[in-house]
Amino acid sequence: MKKIICLALALAMVLTLSLSACAKGLSGTVSTNGSTSMEKVVGILSEQFMEDNSDVTVTYDATGSGTGIEAVANGTCDIGLASRGLKDVETEKGLVATTVALDGIAIIVNAECPVEDLTVEQIADIFTGKVTSWEDFGGKGDIACIGREAGSGTRDGFESITGTKDTCVLAQELTSTGAVIAAVKSSPNAIGYASLSAVEGQEGIRVLTVNGVACTEETVLDGSYVVQRPFNLVTVEGKELSQAAKAFFDYMLSAEASELIVKAGAVPVAEVEEAAAEEATAEAK
């Protein structure tokens, strides 16, 4: 009897060992939740990841940076997406942000608007309602400010850089970057702010230069375009991610993903580090 039990146990062990060796493929669901500006970036990365790992499903809920951070904090998603840095309140909760890319916030006007350049102060004046007419800038008509809802990372980034927190007077408050673009497209007097990655390739709008600097990946990279913010992956410190989630997390930060991030219109953090390294070596010389 004992011999049979020992044999059976040994067989079982061998089987499980060999099965786990076979189980090279990842499987499971990775849930991401948060920023609407990161839609293209997360979309393209998750699509490629899912093509490479056919048993993994990556889901993305576009709810806005604030909600994404909440979701990862209370465990309803694996990876939170925030298009801004974490606040003290949030880091105190044990949340950790890993920057995956930098994104410019493009200031957009309708294609019919004659204005091409504004300074940060002018933008602040427009959005707080101090200046209400395009005539001050050589155009005509009243200015319609299109902004984002209160939990938006884009709004947070825009308001902190222009110094207009809680003081914006908006004609419309929309819930996603795409919506702002659509609204500016259809209204000749509108001005709005939207993620650079979403703005590229859109017709009917013009991207303004800020302080004379155009909004492109290069100027975001070297910091000369000031209205920018990080795309962050938010996780809980010390909490283990599932195998699939960890793999996706690492994939997003890898060099292979950089090309796709560029295609999506953002500046991958790998490039940022490269540029910083180049600067360091240039200074060292």
Binding site: A171, Q172, A183, S187
Partner: protein
């Protein structure tokens, strides 16, 4: 077998109870926390303000819903009633059938489609016509709502008009009135309760509409302004629900708005059942 079907029947009642209970249970806490007066009479809705105290006043939403519905009814009822008279009395049968089919089709179009066309056609048109900075206004919402309640008004009014006994009309014609005079001075008043029902149905539809107007009304929590962006009770819930954090006061306040909306609908229902149907007797 009897029991099985009885259970099926009870499920309907169960659903209604469920809805009532859930709305009350999730809506009341926030009203308690915010304070009845602050909630209903507060004019400022800024639930995520960080530099000042957040405020949760829903007066803008309630007034906007009321004004918007009133506007839609003012615009839609005359057109609807006149069309109903046309269909019921004036039109030759073939034309009537054609227009009736048109009305039925209008009724079946999904509300997002109305919203889309409104966003692309109506909003820019209002902007150009009134020289505004943005056409996403209460006016746009009123027009869209009016178009959406037209079919309900036309259908029910037409049925009511048809139900008026022919003797009334014959008597009026015999006394020398023209046809149109008969229709408007005799038939319409006789069909009063049916027409009132159609208006109440229209009101119910307009006050509960969300998707069509979220795309055309601007979505800013202002006090009602005809040519300015506004937020209705329904659009307030729809636009903030997806990003209000679970468990926050903001989210609970949204449920409370749902409760308020539900109470309005119940009042309209009671009004319909008690006042109008009583008059029929």
């Amino acid at each position: 077998m009897n029991v099985l079907f009885f259970l099926c029947g009870i499920v309907t009642v169960g659903f209604v109870l469920c809805i009532c209970i859930y709305l009350i249970v999730s809506g009341v806490p926030a009203i308690g926390k915010i304070g009845l007066g602050n909630f209903f009479l507060g004019k400022i809705w800024k639930p995520t303000a960080t530099t000042v105290e957040p405020s949760y006043g829903i007066l803008p939403f309630v007034l906007t819903s009321l004004c918007g519905t009133a506007g839609a009814v003012l615009l839609g009822v005359p057109i609807g009633l006149l069309t109903a008279v046309f269909l019921a009395k004036v039109a030759p049968p073939k034309t009537a059938n054609l227009i009736r089919t048109a009305v039925q089709l209008l009724a079946g179009i999904p509300s997002v489609v109305y919203g889309l066309v409104g966003m692309i056609v109506l909003v820019p048109a209002i902007q150009r016509f009134f020289a505004l900075s943005s056409g996403a206004t209460m006016l746009a919402a009123i027009v869209v709502l009016a178009i959406m309640i037209l079919p309900s008004i036309i259908n029910v009014s037409e049925t009511a008009l048809r139900a008026v006994p022919k003797d009334y009309e014959d008597a009026s014609l015999a006394l020398g009135a023209t046809e149109l005079e008969t229709y408007f001075r005799v038939t319409v008043p006789a069909a009063k309760s049916g027409i009132a029902t159609s208006i109440v149905l229209g009101v119910g539809r307009a006050i509960g509409e969300a998707m069509a107007i979220i795309m055309v009304s601007g979505n800013v929590p202002n006090m009602p302004k005809l040519l300015g962006p506004v937020r209705f009770m329904t659009t307030a819930i729809a636009s903030e629900m997806s990003y209000a954090p679970v468990g926050s006061l903001q989210r609970e306040a949204l449920f409370s708005i749902g409760l308020v909306l539900f109470l309005f609908i119940m009042m309209i229902n009671v009004f319909l059942n008690v006042v109008i149907k009583k008059e029929r007797r």
